[in-house]
Amino acid sequence: MISLSQLLFAYLATAITGLALLAVNARNPVHSVLLVLAMFFHMAGLYLTLNAEFLAAVQIIVYAGAILVLYLFVVFLVNLKEEIRVKRFVVSQHYAILLAIGLCVLLVSNMDSFALGISGPWTIEAIQQTTHIKALGRELFTTYLLPFEITGLILLVAVIGGLVLAREDKATTKGNSDDENAETKGVHQ
């Protein structure tokens, strides 16, 4: 007998697989990004079935809200009229299909050898007693404090790196009276 949670899982799994396949095959990059956005929402639903409601919220806020909007901005670089006409795949596309299917078969066929380890202290009753976010926060700010700080550092480096990479090189554009520009001009003269 199929239970309601199994039915929900079946719907979410079908939607995620279908949307991901459509996204990697879509001709228009904007469609790709929007399909992945829909996929992320279904992923958040799947997290809810796993009692990870805070992660579901983070998935929607960070992935759907921040990362995909960043992608949408960069997609505007592409000439969409031209993009729809040019070919989408590299010449070695067939090898890619073979490799992906082979990897999938390999992973799924070895599923039987997977065994769960020792259970931890956070049963559903224990999480209900302390509330989910409090339990997560307690773990995050005690046991995993150092990785948390390092993550902050990684984000700082990423922000600075993104700014440096995407910044226009002032030396190559003329008509700017920046200090930096004057400096490079001085060097050239």
Binding site: F9, A13, A52, R88, V90, P121, T151, G162
Partner: protein, 100 residues
């Protein structure tokens, strides 16, 4: 009750789709999007195992993966913008100066 292998199978399928997209598409932006699919598959594995082990470690690791994915997207798309400025292309097979 859903067995844990269902989640792991779904994650394996999603990861394979990501691998296919990364290898087959020409557009660099779609390639980065495929990396996000693969990262999501890894996240799904971690959250599922975390739930079935009644432990929160998997969920905390997923937080770190989401943060690193945000950093990766910022840097990667910065590289795409810089690349487009220098080469005026977003196709991976047209960037072949290093080819002998």
């Amino acid at each position: 009750m859903i067995p844990v292998s269902w989640y792991l199978t779904l994650a394996a399928i999603l990861f394979s789709i990501g691998v296919y997209g990364f290898l087959a598409r020409r557009n660099v932006i779609i390639m980065f999007l495929s990396i996000e699919l693969m990262l999501n598959a890894a996240n799904l594995n971690l959250v599922a195992v975390s739930h079935y082990l009644t432990d929160l470690r998997g969920q905390i690791l997923t937080f770190f993966i989401i943060a690193v994915a945000a950093a990766e997207a910022a840097i990667g798309l910065g590289i795409v913008v810089a690349l487009f400025r220098n080469k005026a292309t977003v196709y991976a097979d047209e960037i072949a100066q290093m080819k002998g």
